[in-house]
Symmetry: D2
Amino acid sequence: MENYLDRINEVVEEDIIPLEEDFLLRGFLSVLPKLNECREKVKKLGLWTPYLSKKHGGMGLSLLEFASVSELLGKSLLGHYCFNSQAPDIGNIELLKDRASSELKNKFLSPLISGEIRSCFGMTEPQNPGSNPIWMDTLAIKDGNDYVINGNKWFTSSADGASICVVMAVTDPDAENKYSKASMFVVPMDNPGFEIVRNIPVMGHEGEDYNSHAETKFTDCRIPSTYMIGDIGQGFMLAQERLGPGRIHHCMRWIGICERALDLMCRRVSTRELNPNQFLAEKQTIQNWISESAAEIYGARLMVIDCAKKVQEFQTKGARKEISMIKLCVANVLMNVLDRAIQAHGALGITDYTPLAYWYRHERGARIYDGADEIHKNLIARIILKNYID
Amino acid sequence: MENYLDRINEVVEEDIIPLEEDFLLRGFLSVLPKLNECREKVKKLGLWTPYLSKKHGGMGLSLLEFASVSELLGKSLLGHYCFNSQAPDIGNIELLKDRASSELKNKFLSPLISGEIRSCFGMTEPQNPGSNPIWMDTLAIKDGNDYVINGNKWFTSSADGASICVVMAVTDPDAENKYSKASMFVVPMDNPGFEIVRNIPVMGHEGEDYNSHAETKFTDCRIPSTYMIGDIGQGFMLAQERLGPGRIHHCMRWIGICERALDLMCRRVSTRELNPNQFLAEKQTIQNWISESAAEIYGARLMVIDCAKKVQEFQTKGARKEISMIKLCVANVLMNVLDRAIQAHGALGITDYTPLAYWYRHERGARIYDGADEIHKNLIARIILKNYID
Amino acid sequence: MENYLDRINEVVEEDIIPLEEDFLLRGFLSVLPKLNECREKVKKLGLWTPYLSKKHGGMGLSLLEFASVSELLGKSLLGHYCFNSQAPDIGNIELLKDRASSELKNKFLSPLISGEIRSCFGMTEPQNPGSNPIWMDTLAIKDGNDYVINGNKWFTSSADGASICVVMAVTDPDAENKYSKASMFVVPMDNPGFEIVRNIPVMGHEGEDYNSHAETKFTDCRIPSTYMIGDIGQGFMLAQERLGPGRIHHCMRWIGICERALDLMCRRVSTRELNPNQFLAEKQTIQNWISESAAEIYGARLMVIDCAKKVQEFQTKGARKEISMIKLCVANVLMNVLDRAIQAHGALGITDYTPLAYWYRHERGARIYDGADEIHKNLIARIILKNYID
Amino acid sequence: MENYLDRINEVVEEDIIPLEEDFLLRGFLSVLPKLNECREKVKKLGLWTPYLSKKHGGMGLSLLEFASVSELLGKSLLGHYCFNSQAPDIGNIELLKDRASSELKNKFLSPLISGEIRSCFGMTEPQNPGSNPIWMDTLAIKDGNDYVINGNKWFTSSADGASICVVMAVTDPDAENKYSKASMFVVPMDNPGFEIVRNIPVMGHEGEDYNSHAETKFTDCRIPSTYMIGDIGQGFMLAQERLGPGRIHHCMRWIGICERALDLMCRRVSTRELNPNQFLAEKQTIQNWISESAAEIYGARLMVIDCAKKVQEFQTKGARKEISMIKLCVANVLMNVLDRAIQAHGALGITDYTPLAYWYRHERGARIYDGADEIHKNLIARIILKNYID
């Protein structure tokens, strides 16, 4: 029954990890044909979009079961992509599946699930703090049967090459409830009012295709009002709903990265000699790093699993404290483990001959995106302190 | 079914915590009469020695169930004592129950279980490193039907007032297998060859009665050979067997302390004003401490529970890595949480008007006893690295 | 010229450190007679109250020169006391010398300088946050030629056995400038309106005589208005003036403690065997602790010296940022170094057979008194950020 | 007299920092023409190669004086290059100046000083640990009046575009003193036996020209024996001599980076609103980061200055402990400050719109090159512990 984990792991080890070198040294597009082959193989093996119900073409895994899958996929830079489980598509698919009209589902959900098209998610704006999601300048004004959107976004991940953008825009700037100002829309990216201004240079690279973060611009971007997801004013609520499981997915992916980094560290120190026949693994400092990493990963994984159970039972809303705790802790464990693994590799650790330096660069954002550490600390404390106010 | 946790918690909150002030300001003996009353109450409530089988007079809790009890008891400095679940008696009771002869059981186990007598455990020696348990100078020489023990020990906790000492001594200095050198004995403390040299001054106090750590001396201390626990040469093995669950008990107790410290911190900051009507709880640094503490405790508890499950399933031997990881992590979480709680209390935090300063002092040892941090890190790394050696 | 440092060091090593055992195991009063002998010796050697000008009976050392002395004295728990350089007397002497009337000087300064009497400093109040020095309930009401003081204080260090208390009290509750509300007074402690309520139990001990922290109470405590130090409303300013050099003294004392702790650690690990002929000093973790401690001490000392120079040149006011930085950093370096030294000592580290456990307990307050870490961080940031506001 | 610091600072602020954007977004070669203009300007201003004596065309600054210059230059990614003070040329220039024959000086030193050519330094080998500098496979065999070199190196920084390589090679594999095995040579890079295999991909980039790290190969590379620097067997000694001041240069450069990062952080938080009119600078966590960064920089700078003084007085050999302490501490302060600055910038921090992400990537190596943290900790501890061995 659980042997799908073995099968998934085999694909990761046998098919995906060997593709990393090309990705690291020559970029995403260079490896895309092989990734597509791999995606076809995953489909044939019946492991495609595993988090979806069988009816939708997935494996029907629970959030908890998918957590274990996500850890396995996370071991490789390219794992989630090959299983059509990559952000931001996974979040958009869930959103459309649960909240979109039949029209939207027919048009966009099916090709997303099949992997024919990709999507992106436009929320953060360069001029406004990501930590304050209700401060937003992008406006969607009703005009007849349409909405006309104006504004700009950035860190719209994977916009390059995507077909649709799910976008948050203010529909009622004067709403009494500040959490009801915004709504969510699907914008086809061939819309003449939509433009990718540039791929943002992040950690030395603008990236390309799926592997990029765009700055985007909406100029009198006109879309039918039926392209709204959910109801008017639900944008913030839907974003929260989308982010809850998303944080669990990220956390398990990060644990997969940690496991891989620890494995790389152990391999390296077991074979690298400091002097003839004296291995790095014999140094107490190295041993300390291995132990500390293993213990941190042990705690992190148990927290994520426990949190996933709570989300299954009580929904995102009933596990807000736990979600914030795992987001905060696992992102930091990730950085610690990567840092130790790099240091244990010496100069090799900062080259692109291992995936460590890539994660070091591109997961530094893990402490920033989906709520910076500081936001989550504040949220946790407020939940706890509520019990102490008369 | 699980409402025994509520009942235990009620005793801790209603009966035990109110005794702390006397203990902190006037010492253990001043509070002993009331502790004994409380012990009687616990017996009447059917909550006595809860970790023992019903046959032995306990509640028949599994290791995992007792872990939750231990967390509750740990919230107070005096919790475990009131439920006859205190170290070192709990370890000695388990040891005698599982490994002693009927003679020893009849003589010593019953009064230990009933709480009539107390016991201590003599292993560490001042002149030898506790981190190397097989380097031991105390000798037990066979002489007819007796063993004659010579040597000295320290950090024999709770020797003051105890009736028996379980002692490790070398019976075969030349054993080929260095783990088979020592054996374990019961020494009645009225034996003329046994002497408490002094209660060691620890963190400013020699302590008294249960609340003390003795230096002890064996001078031609003659005991019947039937007072050996287990077989000859099993001392080290028995000590390991004793320490495995002991570490889980300690860890859950520490988590109880952490919970109490976090609670004290939250209460304090919710009522302490920095300026009229501006509470300490509003400061972001304080909120960070609360969040970090809560998250660390969350992870720590899940690790201990998971480890307890593994011990139940695979015995101590099959959970060595996990036991070392929880011992290492929880002891450090404990110190972190206490440190933050003290700092949040300001000057009050270093007084004895809260239990925080007591724990700060007397749990500093948590990173040293039962295997220093460094020992556990080494052990974890060696287990992990074993997989990387061809 | 600088060989006074050698002579001072010799007294510390030869005369004072040998007294520590008695102090640690039997308390301050047990060692007081020998301390007094030592004080006489120091006087004869011409090393008494070295920070005072020769005119006042001191050695005429600059703040910078005294910093080096303070480091030497700090190596022992009893160093400053033997050289009449202990807080709070040192601060009170400076204050009286610079700011008191001739009457007050004649009555109180001379016997303080000669060491005939001791003094204390009453500022912090239990019901008000020490971090907000202008929120104070103790009132001094003018009544004819007298002031009548009512209120209570705590952490009035060394009140037990002292002859005078320098006390902060509000003289103008409605002052427009909140920093001008309070004034400073000398209160002879045999005043019937003055009372030591108790020595506060701190870290397990109420202490005694010089080595204590009192809770004190002023009940219609009537003193002549000539007992005011400085002018009316200058209390806060004088306290700041007093605390600036005081923090440098503390920091250099802490560095002395660090040096001693590092020395004790190095001695221990160089002689303690883990296995026959394998010394603790060979373990890489221990070496890491030694290096990290030495490096932290190196930086800390240079910072304090630089800060002392700045205070000499620009007064306390011109070195506020640096004073806060050293207070913050050195207190934390102190705790780090002590923690490592204790861990390296194993069980011995938590006993009172070395001074480490005493410092661990009684210097935990270093991160709280004279401005908690958080206060200093806030102050530093505000000074820096001032440059970024248009 | 010291107003050269102002003039240098002006060049950095006015001429160099504006070039960073091009460098960050378009690469080193895109900015090289402007860099060369800037170098001409620096020459005209009389600020060229400031660390050299006036006789050699420099400003005649002492190591200590140059330390302050290096801090200013370090504020920009491109500062050292514009003043011909960049590694590895600075080290090679010093080496050739002090240790090379007249022939070598005439041929290579003059154009290096004038900036006509660049150089590189080949020491580390991919198959051998950089932390063990005496384990080296590259061989230089005497053959008549020539040496013939075979071997390969990596992390030969700035080889791309350089004209000469200073290379370490084993000349006496069987030397009794293992520190006398190797010698140092100048290898003109147009030598047919020399080859740049590739620029190593480091943190996502192979880099180009000066801004790169090459893998190099020597195949029967024949050079005249007069191209040896110093005497036979002096390679290791010369490398040490070269690295001592080099570490001070690095450290001061890192402090310059820290200052810039702190400045960028302060600017950002003073202008970034979380809510209308509520600035990031008002958050206590941000204030903590500013204070901690400022305090760490304060200590770090004082340590480097003190160390530079010691090197001036006692040469590298007499300041080994201090050199290791600053290398260790400042590299870590650097990473801390950068990490906080990035986090304070939020998503902007990981883009290439500020230099922070570049430093985050390319200074991660600071904890590895010129002796990994662990090497320096070991060295410091050994020096200290030497005093404790009988």
